[in-house]
């Protein structure tokens, strides 16, 4: 089916999320929509899917104008969508999730589970998915949950499939499988709109690329375009995609985590006998798919999660004996993974957020009296140093963009003398400019001799920052490898394959993205 957008505009208050967007997706085409976080890609797709109604413009399917009053209409017209945050109900089974909204029923509205199961099995075998129709969604790994979403769309005869950042949660090998699925669907005549900000993927699979920036279409490109060209189209200026850094001057071992085990509230192991150490002036990056124990590792080091066994030692001092406050006072800098819930308090001013973990100490407090002047001055000085774009430091922090909020968090944590820096997902949801800045700041901190633990699910970030890479899978450290390890090997390790075996397997089967990378390199050399 052919999907066409003509002059689609969507405003939220005074903010124009989509401005006169024109887009044509031909039948059986994989069309990539490339843009930074916040460029308006998801808004556009939610408009096509009927979740938002456009303020101006038209959507045409096979040259017929259509209007959707809700996702139900869009689905009926043959549009399927796999959302970035899966729209699955954790406590439902796979079958229940797939049929929801389109339930086959017997008399009196009783569900026909048998018919529903058969449908799931039929679609899942047609595309070679290995999905148990009776499994609970919350027990499935993210890759399988994504396949459930695809089955859901296909079970409703989707002719246009929208995939919103589908690779964000996948290992490189799972991404590879997704690419194979997308090609299979394309063969079957399904049009695919593929939303991403990852340049490598776009070049490997798209037939055509549309780049949007700040809600506007800024250009079209072909998969043959170079990454640098795509990046500058996407960001609007020349950018360097890698951060230059000197090899670190590493000193003696500073942080030692030995045999650390953490249980969740239900008594399941979430961190399984983890041991690692970090030297002064070194960045240890922890790679892994979300939810494999990285969060628990950072929280155990901070002390907001109880360790069932094992030790955490910083410069010979047993951290487990200290409270969170004492750990922070001992020089632990901590950037939490979810800025909005754990990093800042939205209604507080920038100044107040800046002193959140130092408010009761000199120079910000004398006895029980807070020193507002000292707080403001420090906040102004540090926000200037970190280039936070804002009105005044008295504005609520919620008025800042994600990137600038994150800079405030970094400014807060780095304005103290640190003996250990822990950052979880430091650039999640940020634009390229902010990412560059955050990366440079972390490297500067390292060069001051601070041991740094950076947890990231983005392989690009891991490869950019790491001096060494630890890969986590299901609460265990699969291996700690040098920074120059290939993506394919890291990807296999992220699925639990031990380092050596991963090397062998990666040498034997290269992923589609890996191949595309090599081709591109050869071309550049030639």
């Amino acid at each position: 089916m052919k999907l066409q957008l003509k002059g689609v505009t969507k405003r939220f208050g005074t903010f124009t999320a989509n401005d006169q967007i024109d887009l044509t997706v031909e039948p059986g085409e994989i069309h990539a929509l490339l843009g930074e976080n916040g460029a308006g890609k998801s808004t556009l797709m939610n408009t096509i899917y009927g979740l938002y109604s456009p303020d101006e413009g038209q959507i045409l399917l096979d040259d017929q104008p259509v209007t959707f009053n809700g996702p139900g209409d869009a689905v009926a017209a043959g549009i399927g969508m796999v959302h970035q945050h899966f729209m699955l109900i954790p406590v439902f089974t796979v079958t229940e999730s797939v049929v929801l909204g389109y339930e086959p029923t017997k008399a009196a509205g009783i569900l026909n589970f048998e018919q529903a199961r058969q449908k799931v099995l039929e679609i899942s075998s047609r595309f070679g998915f290995d999905v148990d129709p009776d499994a609970r969604v919350e027990d499935l790994p993210v890759g399988a949950q994504q396949r459930v979403e695809i089955i859901k769309a296909l079970s409703r005869e989707a002719k246009v499939l929208i995939l919103d950042e589908p690779t964000a949660v996948l290992t490189p090998q799972e991404t590879d499988e997704l690419i194979a699925i997308m090609r299979q669907l394309k063969e079957a005549g399904t049009s695919i709109v593929f939303i991403t900000h990852k340049l490598r993927e776009v070049r490997a699979i798209a037939d055509r690329i549309t780049v949007i920036r700040r809600g506007k279409v800024v250009g079209e490109a072909t998969p043959q375009s170079t990454e640098t060209k795509l990046a500058s189209l996407m960001v609007g200026r020349q950018v360097s995609l890698t951060t230059d850094k000197e090899p670190g001057q590493t000193g003696e071992v500073s942080l030692t985590v030995d045999d650390l085990t953490v249980l969740d509230s239900a008594g399941k192991i979430v961190l399984d006998h983890v041991s690692l150490d970090i030297r002064r002036g070194e960045i240890l990056a922890v790679a892994g798919v979300d939810g494999n124990g990285q969060t628990e590792l950072s929280e155990a080091i901070l002390g907001i999660r109880h360790a069932a066994s094992g030790t955490i030692t910083l410069d010979g001092q047993d951290l487990k004996k200290l409270t969170v406050k004492e750990r922070l006072a001992a020089g632990l800098g901590f950037v939490p993974e979810d800025r909005s819930t754990d990093g800042v308090i939205a209604g507080f001013s920038i100044t107040e957020n800046f002193v959140l973990d130092m408010y009761d100490r000199a120079p910000y407090a004398k006895g029980v009296v807070m020193q507002h002047q000292a707080m403001r001055e420090a906040a102004e000085k540090q926000t200037a140093r970190f280039d936070v774009r804002m009105g005044t430091v008295d504005d609520p922090i919620s008025t800042l963009s994600g990137g600038n909020q994150q800079k405030v968090v970094l400014a807060r944590e780095m304005s103290r003398d640190l003996r250990l820096f822990v950052a979880s997902q430091p650039t999640r949801g940020l634009d390229v400019g902010s990412i560059e800045f955050v990366h440079r700041t972390i490297i500067e901190e390292r060069d001051k001799g601070t041991p740094c633990l950076v947890i990231s699910t983005e392989l690009d970030e891991v490869l950019n920052l790491a001096d060494r890479i630890a890969v986590m899978y299901r609460g265990r450290i699969v291996g700690i490898v040098p920074a120059d390890t290939s993506r394919d090997v890291l990807g296999l390790m992220m699925a639990g394959v031990p380092a050596e075996e991963a090397q062998e397997q990666a040498a034997a089967h290269q992923t589609a993205l890996g191949e595309a990378d090599e081709l591109a390199e050869e071309k550049e050399q030639a």
Partner: protein
């Protein structure tokens, strides 16, 4: 394609190995304390040679069942020993980090209550009327069960309903008035759900449409209904109580054969149509919540409204319809206070039952059957307190009347294990 790497994903996360999992002694210690009470108080202080008499039959029984007599002290030593054994078993299983079956707390509770009754009734001269006590338990449970069903339908769609109390009261009021005006108790049964649904509709307007904090709306609605019914009671109903507030009672309809079963027959199957309706509603909700299209959609809306929206389910409409429907259930339950028992309407006659119904819903884990059993437990503990205060026991009756509320606090505090409410419970859905 490297399919072999994907296979690794399939195994579920493993349970913590036995040395790491903390030993949970909360339950074993509770059991041990209760067993010690049974041995140290019920057995030791049962007067030697005393007997406790139970009446197993109902006054209406076709065949007279003789009184059951048990020797108090020996019986309680046996029961106490059994309770101690169960407590020891609980300790053993806790240290093995294994779970106990559901039979364990049920058996423990039954034995403990039996030991208590034997001790309380020993040498009293009075007879413990078992059937009367159980009938009372069911009667006290009926509004709780209706209320809990209302609460769980609402919360399964994601709307917290604190206004059950008000819905019960509104139902009781309108049932009494309608039955009185038409001189027919059944008209009251038709009117009661309308009153409950109207309160539900008000809840929807504020909680779903205007996204006001649902707990606050609920509390305000309760106050509103109490105020409104009290006002109408003192101005209209008492002026001409013959017309507006005359007593009407639903007749008892004994089910043939079933009502002849000893003990449980008269308790369960010699009831009014309202109680039979309750059985049907609980059974239907249980089946439909988990097996029907309606149930699937209701649960989806309460767990993840956005996901439901993306498959074309109208979240706010689903919530609206079901909260109003749930209000009708609670209103029907309110009819039990008046026409169900043949009483005239009295001010604030729901007396906090709506809140206990919420506790029953939580204790029953948002499951119709679970909530029903929880409500029966609360009803039984109240009935036990009533019975004991009439036969006169060593325990002050005030303490016994506290019993259901103590049980409620423990229940709501999550003492019975982890409870998992619907994920989007209480959260308004805004696109």
């Amino acid at each position: 394609m490297s399919t072999e790497t994907v296979a690794v994903h399939a195994e579920p996360l493993e349970e913590a190995s036995s040395t790491l999992k903390p030993v949970n002694l909360k339950f074993p210690i509770t059991y041990a304390v209760m067993a010690m009470v049974a041995l140290g108080v019920f057995a030791l202080f049962s007067p030697a040679g005393a007997v406790t008499r139970f009446r197993l039959g109902a006054p209406t029984d076709f065949i007279e069942i003789p009184l059951a007599e048990v020797p108090a002290a020996p019986t309680n030593w046996v029961l106490g020993a059994a309770l101690a054994a169960l407590a020891v078993l609980a300790f053993v299983r806790a240290y093995q980090r294994k779970r106990l079956g559901r039979w364990h707390p049920v058996l423990f509770g039954v034995l403990f209550v039996a030991a208590f009754l034997v001790w309380a009734g020993a040498d009293r001269g009075a007879v413990i009327p078992l059937v009367t006590m159980l009938t009372g338990a069911l009667a006290l449970s009926v509004p709780l069960i209706f209320g809990a069903m209302c609460g769980l339908v609402g919360e399964r769609t994601g709307v917290i309903n604190i206004a059950i109390e008000g819905q019960l009261l509104a139902g009781a009021f309108l049932a009494a008035v309608a039955a009185s005006v038409f001189v027919n108790a059944y008209v009251g049964l038709v009117a009661a759900p309308i009153a409950g649904a109207l309160v539900g509709a008000l809840l929807v307007v504020f909680a779903v449409k205007y996204q006001v904090n649902q707990i606050i709306v609920g509390v305000v609605l309760n106050v509103l209904v109490i105020g409104l019914t009290s006002f109408l009671f003192s101005t209209v109903l008492t002026q001409n109580s013959q017309l507006w507030n005359a007593r009407q009672q639903l007749p008892r309809l004994p089910v043939p054969v079933l009502s002849e079963i000893p003990i449980i027959g008269p308790v369960l199957f010699n009831q009014t149509i309202l109680v039979y309706l309750m059985y049907v509603i609980v059974a239907l909700l249980y089946v439909f919540l988990f097996r029907s299209r309606w149930g699937l959609r209701v649960r989806a809306v309460g767990e993840h409204p956005k996901a439901a929206d993306t498959v074309g389910i109208n979240v706010n409409r689903t919530r609206t319809i079901n909260v109003i429907f749930a209000g009708a259930i609670a209103g029907l339950g309110g009819a039990f206070f008046t026409v169900g028992q043949g009483l005239a309407f009295g001010q604030e006659m729901s007396a906090g039952q709506g809140f206990i119904a919420l506790a029953a819903m939580i204790l029953g884990r948002w499951n119709p059957l679970g909530a029903m059993f929880a409500a029966l437990l609360f009803g039984f503990s109240t009935s036990l307190g009533n019975t004991l205060s009439t036969i006169g026991t060593p325990v002050p009756s005030e303490v016994l009347l506290m019993l259901p509320y103590i049980i409620t606090i423990f229940a709501v505090a999550g003492f019975v294990g982890r409870v998992r409410p619907p994920a989007a419970n209480g959260e308004p859905y805004v696109k």
